[in-house]
């Protein structure tokens, strides 16, 4: 990052947690990049909305439960979290099922936000 210049960076999360490593890897990058004081937002689309579904209990599959990390994002001033409305509906989920405060937007509204970004990182 060039010094003093704040960029708009959006992380686009479209994969379910645990089945693949994408969700965890995205979180790791978000936390690392949070140190650089950029204008960060996270988007959860398609199966990515499952990352925020409350109540992960991973003891049975012997995998680290990384859901508490989403609740820690606010401590890193990462608090622009957007969830795709259509994705929730296709999965029988609602905003109340999310483990952190989010803003629910349509795919088109998310697309408009994408247009405004300097950098899009896709997971």
């Amino acid at each position: 990052m060039s010094e003093g210049q704040v960029k708009k960076i959006m992380y686009v999360n479209r994969k379910a947690p645990y089945g693949t490593i994408y969700a965890l890897e995205s979180l790791e990058v978000v936390l690392i990049a949070a140190a650089f004081d950029q204008d960060v937002s996270l988007v959860f689309m398609d199966d990515g909305v499952y990352q925020l579904k409350k109540g992960h209990q991973t003891k049975g599959i012997e995998v680290k439960n990384f859901q508490p990390t989403y609740r820690a994002l606010d401590d890193y001033d990462v608090n622009k979290l957007y969830v795709q409305k259509e994705a929730l509906e296709a999965r029988g989920l609602s905003e109340e099922d999310m483990c952190v405060p989010v803003e629910v937007l349509s795919a088109a509204e998310i697309g408009k936000l994408m247009d405004q970004q300097d950098v899009l990182l896709s997971f």
């Binding site: 645990y18 089945g19 199966d47 579904k53 409350k54 109540g55 049975g60 599959i61 439960n65």
Partner: protein, 99 residues
């Protein structure tokens, strides 16, 4: 015959491939991201329910719990643990994984 599906029905078409091929009386086991098909309100739920009339549908409970979906199990689906998984494999002559 035991069919195993491990991908989300909203990301991949493996569940539909499986349901199209599976013969009456066969067992279908949903594991990993495949378990989302067996949750209430999922777009695949009605297809799975229709299939459950001719197929035995199972879901691996630890995968459901990991994803916070244990309370959302769809009707007509049997929840099993890892021991049940092994028993299903042993009970059936062969097994197709729809990767």
């Amino acid at each position: 015959m035991l069919h195993i599906v491990n991908k989300s029905p909203l990301e991949r078409s493996t569940l539909d491939s499986c349901l199209a091929a599976a013969q009456p009386g066969a067992a279908v086991l949903l594991i990993e991201d495949g378990v989302y098909a067996a949750t209430r309100g999922n777009a695949a739920e009605s297809r799975l329910r229709a299939a459950s009339a001719r197929l035995e549908i199972y879901v691996l409970a630890p995968d459901l719990e990991a994803r916070g979906m244990a309370q959302s199990l769809a009707e007509g689906v049997k929840s099993i643990d890892y021991t049940g998984f092994v028993e299903l494999v042993v009970q059936h002559k062969n097994c197709q994984s729809w990767l």
